[in-house]
């Protein structure tokens, strides 16, 4: 090959490299800007009282968002209790029965559910729970969020289980271990890091969901531990306070946004640690 063409190819190679580096920087700019903006506006409202006190009426100084923090935790727990075991069970089924007709339809419905707008899931929870119960409740909000987190858990479980080599399964079966014990005692423990990752990421996702809570969890200015009563949540509080006309409430909303982002960020860090610590080598 003559040297002119070789030079041209080296030049193209460099150009490509510079190109992808620039573009990847550009793609993280929005994230950095958002974080920077939230920090700048929110950090000043953070204090110890902000975490442990209830919101105060307009005009009164101080106050916190403890009810929203507790509410969000409550909602995440209610969402996770049915959805994590159900999602893992469905994921096991899809991975163990790859070609059955039921798993074809199961996989399809998981995809459809994943694409369903969150507001629609909120309406469903409203019709199923709020209407029969006669009031907004943490329960209905939690169920709505639970439905939202289900597809991510199913997919994470199925995909992780598919990565487990068949040789491991055969090792157990050849020892005379029944199929269900093989799945529960050998395959599931070996895939724990992937499943945990799916669960944590789906928790991080629903923690920031507002739309399904608008007519289920509804919001509450007071502290509430009762799952059959309306409950506040961080994204709801942000939504309500940010759309209010009071600058003081805007500041609280920024602070709450800060807390929410920090929570999601922490969950993602935990995911990294889980992957590193619990990763199983074959």
């Amino acid at each position: 090959m003559d040297s002119r063409r070789l030079k041209l190819r080296i030049l193209k190679d460099r150009g490509f490299k510079v190109g992808i580096i620039t573009l990847s920087f550009v793609s993280i700019v929005p994230l950095i800007l958002i974080l920077f903006y939230i920090m700048r506006n929110g950090v000043s409202s953070l204090s110890w009282e902000f975490f442990i006190e209830l919101p105060r009426p307009v005009g009164e100084k101080g106050g916190g968002i403890s009810n929203a923090i507790i509410g969000s935790l409550l909602l995440v727990i209610i969402a996770g209790l049915p959805s994590i075991p159900l999602g893992i069970a469905a994921g096991i089924f899809l991975s163990e029965h790859k070609n059955s007709r039921l798993s074809y339809w199961g996989r399809l419905s998981v995809d459809v559910l994943q694409g369903t707008p969150s507001i629609v899931i909120g309406i469903i929870a409203y019709i199923w729970l709020v209407v029969p119960m006669g009031r907004f409740s943490a329960l209905s909000g939690g169920i709505a969020l639970g439905i939202m987190m289900l597809p991510a858990i199913v997919k994470a479980t199925e995909e992780t289980l598919n990565l487990i080599p068949d040789s491991l399964k055969e090792a157990a079966l050849a020892l005379g271990v029944p199929h269900y014990r093989t799945v529960l005692r050998v395959i599931l423990p070996a895939s724990i890091s992937g499943i945990m990752t799916g669960v944590l990421i789906s928790v991080a996702r629903i923690a920031g969901e507002t739309a399904p809570l608008l007519f289920t969890g509804f919001g509450n200015a007071f502290m509430n531990w009762n799952v059959t009563k309306p409950v506040n949540a961080l994204p709801l509080l942000i939504y309500n306070y940010a759309t209010s006309p009071y600058p003081q409430w805007h500041k609280v909303a920024w602070g709450a946004a800060c807390v929410l982002v920090a929570f999601v960020f922490t969950l993602n860090l935990v995911v990294r640690i889980v992957i590193r610590r619990w990763k199983v080598q074959f």
Binding site: L168, A174, L175, R181, V186, P189, F282
Partner: protein, 252 residues
Amino acid sequence: MESAVLKTVGLSAYYEDNQVVNKISLSILENKITAIMGPSGCGKSTLVRCFNRLHELVPGARVEGEVFLKEENVYDMDPITVRTRIGMVFQRPNPFPIMTVRDNVVAGYVLNGIKLSRSERDEIVEQSLKGAALWDEVKDYLHKRGTFLSGGQQQRLCIARALAVKPDLLLFDEPTSALDPKATAHIERLMTELKETVTPVLVTHNIGQAGRVSDFIAFLYLGELIEFGPKGQLLTTPKDKRTEEFLTGKFG
């Protein structure tokens, strides 16, 4: 006349409509090493996987004919019982990655929900690891994960795991194909020592290995049992032309 531990009568195996084992009848004698030898894809792995009923777990797989384990028809028994009496060691070492060396050895008990006292467990662990010639190397590392061992050690750990449940028969499905020559020699020596306590069946495509290790050789080609006999006779004076061609490297 020595007694046969395992006997097949007209055994055929299929994947969907594809027949991979064709009406094989053979006997495996107690405390002798029988090698199932043949070129790749001749159905030798599938044949032994019919013995412990692993073959039927593949979707679309089917078995015809009979397999007797000490006069009992394997296909009338519960597959779980069959598999505790016929152990298996696979091509690639597959210790349980989440378990320690000790737990790997007693996995056949623990995973089946059989409770062992501490002394029983320690005795089984020591006996099995000694049986697999691994005890001296790992006795100080019993609490470490099995996957930290070298490939050859992992394979011997898998042998110990299979020995722990005291099977009648131990199937070795090309146990050295993922190992280096030194580890291979170790495993081969081990197999000849093991035949006093358990009857090994060795699947191999390696003529040298079959010659070094076995007492009897079954030569399989395209799913058929071409020839079966004592190794000396089969390797030096094969009756069938195909056996001779395989042995002289005309194919394989």
